[in-house]
Assembly symmetry: C2
Homo-oligomer: 224 residues x 2
DNA sequence: TAGATTGTTAATCGATTAACAATC
DNA sequence: TAGATTGTTAATCGATTAACAATC
């Protein structure tokens, strides 16, 4: 049961984009920006921009636009960019390494506290200055530190097991990079970052482009 | 102008998930699967599953379900998993390394032909058996091989420039992992893989969870 | 046949786009 | 004041969910 002051998911996902553009504008010395310009730079419709922004702030000035400094700070507040969220990362492979080293996370309020792995060869080492611990220690650390977010960057086979460990230890939100559907109790939010989905979109488009413009009729629904 | 035999984007993004589940079912020795079971394992509604699948195949048998082998092969065909798509990857940093090494891509029909970077220290080396070339050679290679897909895994600052180079060389679809909005002519498809968007969703949920159940009234729209 | 499950139509829901009076 | 741009309501669009006759 989410709070009633709820924001549409698509809007929520656009907010970080607005925020980035605002920082750019500010760095370029601008003071105000209109929904039109913001939209052009972010890739969204101007009406959409106004609607989105109104969910979190109604301080735009007709004829002038939005005061960049104020709007940016408001967005930062809303997105929780000021107070950091602690998280644990499971998986010290290539993807885990990339995530642990991603400089953007710090500025987006995410703090990876520790990295876990099942491979004894990796345990004891460090990944970007974070200790690599045995996954058997996950529950204990999560409980002691009261960590609420977990990041899964391991092969699909072990993802469900790790997710269960996380949930049992009190994790409430899981960022899942494994190509697997995680079955968890429904008070836990899972966000799947599915590369195959992205790839499908692009491949389909390329396939369509390659076709000699199919603009009449549909495929008969016989065998395909 | 996309072809008329078009598939809703949300559906398109769910197809790879169905495919994965089907392979699992097949490996478990199953012959048929119903929309209900498929949905449970993929995380979608059973009606949704049927609707999605009917876009690409109407071979389900009432009372029985879908023949796994046939449906999987049909999906593989549709998603272009049989013939590979060649792509160039720009960025040999941590993220580029992770992408170049991601074993899933091969099975999803993506073939990264070469990796490009601007750092002279990296050029000449290899990344997962692919040569790392100077980004100045990008246009030439793309043109010669007729490559249509480009992957951007570099910091935001240089993303727009690289995108323009790609488009000028004939790239038609860009998979963008840089946190930047790319302005390209609209016959080129850009897919942004925006980690900040994912993070925003999760953080917002956690923030809400932490709140002492706000179930009456809204925030006054005074100062926030 | 009886039970299960499909393909598809209709109903619902939610998000985007358009429009415009209010206002800087 | 005139021009620009907001916040918000109404219209449109598209996707999800529900329902059910057809059929294995």
């Amino acid at each position: 049961m989410a709070g009633l002051v709820s924001i549409p998911k698509p809007t929520l996902e656009r907010l970080p984009v607005y925020y980035r553009v605002l920082l750019q504008c500010r760095d370029a010395g601008m003071q105000y920006v209109s929904s039109g310009e913001l939209g052009r730079k972010a890739g969204f419709d101007h009406a959409q921009v106004r609607k989105d922004l109104n969910h979190i702030w109604s301080g735009g000035r007709p004829g002038l636009g939005y005061e960049i400094e104020k709007l940016a700070s408001c967005l930062a507040d809303f997105l929780g960019l000021h107070n950091t969220t602690d998280a644990v990362l499971v998986g010290a492979g290539r993807l885990g390494t990339a995530l642990a080293g991603y400089p953007g996370f710090a500025s987006y309020g995410l703090n990876i506290v520790a990295v876990f792995d099942a491979d004894p060869g990796r345990i004891g080492g460090t990944l970007n200055e974070r200790p690599i611990l045995s996954v058997t220690k996950l529950a204990d650390l999560v409980e002691r530190l009261g960590i609420r977010m977990g990041i899964i960057a391991i092969p699909a086979e072990s993802a469900q097991t790790v997710a269960e460990t996380m949930v049992a230890a009190g994790i409430q939100a899981i960022w899942n990079f494994a190509p697997a559907y995680l079955q968890v109790s429904d008070n836990v939010l899972v966000r799947n970052e599915d590369l195959a989905a992205g790839l499908a979109t692009l491949s389909y488009y390329l396939k369509e482009q390659g076709l000699p413009s199919v603009d009449s009729g549909k495929l008969s629904d016989g065998q395909l």
